[in-house]
């Protein structure tokens, strides 16, 4: 299988042509440096992203709290992750780093607060 992706290692944004066989990257072309090869391997075998969103806050000085996945989760699970968090609400006080949701979509990764919200 052949995939075309854009390298994000630097502003060059090389168009990488990646040959994949049995789930393994066997050849990368179009890159200008080694970053492109590493990026292609990661992107074509196990692409991950940190997902950020907000939760409504009850009884807080602000109406929302910003949150993120504590680590990057598999890219294909982003949609499922957002669905799972759709109806989550939390209560103040919240401190930055607090775990607000455990083991999102069976990744073993928690959702943590990225800001503090004091009680009203």
């Amino acid at each position: 299988m052949q995939r075309e992706i854009t390298c994000i290692g630097c502003p060059m944004g090389c168009n990488l042509i990646v040959q994949i066989e049995n789930g393994e990257v066997v050849n990368v072309s179009g890159n200008s440096c080694k970053i492109g090869i590493d990026h292609a391997k990661k992107e074509c075998t196990n692409p991950t992203r940190i997902v950020t969103t907000t939760f409504p806050v009850l009884n807080g000085i602000y109406p929302r709290v910003a949150v993120k996945t504590a680590e990057a989760i598999p890219k294909y699970k982003i949609e499922e992750c957002m669905k799972a968090l759709k109806d989550v609400a939390v209560t103040a006080p919240i401190s930055r780093g607090d775990i607000l949701f455990r083991n999102i979509v069976q990744t073993g990764i928690n959702i943590v607060a990225t800001q503090s919200v004091a009680k009203k």
């Binding site: 992706i5 854009t6 390298c7 994000i8 630097c10 502003p11 060059m12 944004g13 200008s32 992203r49 940190i50 997902v51 950020t52 969103t53 907000t54 409504p56 602000y62 109406p63 929302r64 910003a66 993120k68 890219k75 982003i78 957002m82 930055r96 990225t114 800001q115 503090s116």
Partner: protein, 418 residues
């Protein structure tokens, strides 16, 4: 009248960094003023990650980056006023501010640091013909509504302009269940970071229409759709390429303007290229004792650079307050042949500390050389695989370099073929 050594206008990353550095330099009688109900500035609505890679060696979200500085400011007991609008500043460094508790107050400062940031260009700056209906807002306004208030401004979205906030909001709206039909960019390249184009658009299959623009807005009370068309190399629409896209929301991400109404009132001279103050190597404006840093000085793409610049401004403001400022003879810096501007716009002979020059190019250049001339002598000739307007460049000149050029009268930045 209350008197302060230093008043910092703006409590975003620039103001917070400046306050902390001023304190480290021994300035204790200082005040930060912000019009919002909380410190942190625009970072508080930028909930995505990618901030602080240079400063903290990790990827933080906007609120995380801001809170690290806010906590330091609180720990250092640096006074700040929130919900306070600065109405006027004067050449002799009086600050007139207004809030609900104190009413109108007159403050006297020995030095002022301008850290008011920038704002988005609105629809009025674009002259798109069509209906004046609801559903048209800047990407940053949408970001505030979605991230801080929890309101979705619409369900079917077109983004005009491919600045970073527009790209970030295309992803954010998608994650919240909206359909982003396209990001439409007038120029043949995006001014956004490559990483954002990939992770905000390509990840979600959102088309980026380069060399396209919105030529008409349709709707009565609410936006119903936009007509887009390809543009030629003179940026004029090619009429037979026009296409109607139904949508209820148009987000604008068409550039940022430093917010210098206050600076202008104090007689601060502004650059017609950056729209920020013209500053020398102390990041001092033409008004002695008024300094500037961050997006009010020139629009940055990385907050790390804002923080570094705020430290520089605060160091120089502290020198000024303590009567330790040493000024050399001005050396004009010219940006030409591919380099759009530099900050600072001039330097001085025999500087006491290295000088960091930040600059942008005016177009995308591949495999070209970045050249800097000290008078006729080329002192920098650096091959660059790519130079793009969306990524700020910087070069630092050592004090030794200036010592080697005691009679320096001008510095020139340019992009060269070879």
């Amino acid at each position: 009248m209350e008197a302060y050594d230093l008043i910092i206008i703006g409590g975003g990353p620039a103001g917070l960094g400046a306050a902390l550095e001023a304190k480290r330099q021994g300035i204790t009688n200082l005040l930060v003023i912000d019009r919002e109900p909380r410190l942190g500035g625009i970072l508080m609505q930028c909930i995505h990650n990618g901030f602080g890679l240079h400063t903290f060696k990790e990827e933080l979200t906007g609120p995380e980056y801001a809170e690290r500085f806010i906590e330091e400011v609180v720990k250092e007991k640096i006074p700040y006023w929130l919900n306070t609008m600065v109405l006027d500043i004067t050449e002799d460094k009086k600050v007139y501010a207004l809030n609900a508790e104190k009413g109108l107050v007159e403050l006297q400062a020995k030095a002022i640091i301008l850290a008011m940031g920038c704002r988005e260009r609105p629809r009025g700056a674009l002259m798109i013909p069509g209906a004046r209906c609801s559903g048209i807002l800047t990407a940053g306004a949408a970001q505030k509504l979605v991230n801080m208030k929890g309101y979705m401004p619409g369900r079917k979205v077109v983004v005009l302009g491919s600045g970073d906030i527009g790209l970030i909001m295309a992803r954010r709206m998608t994650l919240e269940g909206a359909k982003v039909e396209a990001v439409v960019e007038l120029l043949p390249y995006s001014s956004g970071l490559k990483r954002n184009i990939v992770q905000c658009l390509e990840d979600y299959g959102i088309p980026l229409k380069l060399s396209h623009t919105v030529i008409k807005i349709h709707g009565k009370d609410r936006l119903q759709g936009v007509t887009i068309a390809q543009v030629d190399d003179k940026r004029q629409p090619i009429m037979d390429t026009q296409r109607y896209i139904p949508c209820d929301t148009l987000l604008l991400s068409v550039g940022l303007l430093p917010e210098n109404e206050l600076s202008r009132k104090a007689g601060v001279e502004l650059s017609s290229i950056t729209w920020g103050p013209i500053v020398g190597p102390h990041l001092e404006t033409n008004i002695p004792g008024i300094f500037a840093c961050g997006n009010v000085l020139h629009v940055h793409d990385l907050v790390d650079n804002v923080t570094l610049e705020s430290y520089e401004a605060a160091k120089h403001a502290a020198e000024f307050i303590k009567g330790e400022q040493v000024k050399g003879e001005a050396v004009l810096v010219t940006a030409t042949e591919g380099v759009r501007y530099t900050v600072p716009q001039f330097v001085e002979n025999e500087p006491k500390a290295p000088i960091t020059m930040r600059f942008r190019v005016d177009n995308v250049y591949r495999n070209k050389y970045l050249a800097v001339y000290f008078d006729e002598e080329r002192i920098v000739h650096k091959k660059k695989r790519i130079l793009t307007p969306g990524e700020m460049e910087e070069l630092t000149f050592s004090t030794e370099l200036f010592k080697k050029h005691p009679k320096l009268t001008s510095i020139t930045f340019k992009v060269e073929r070879s």
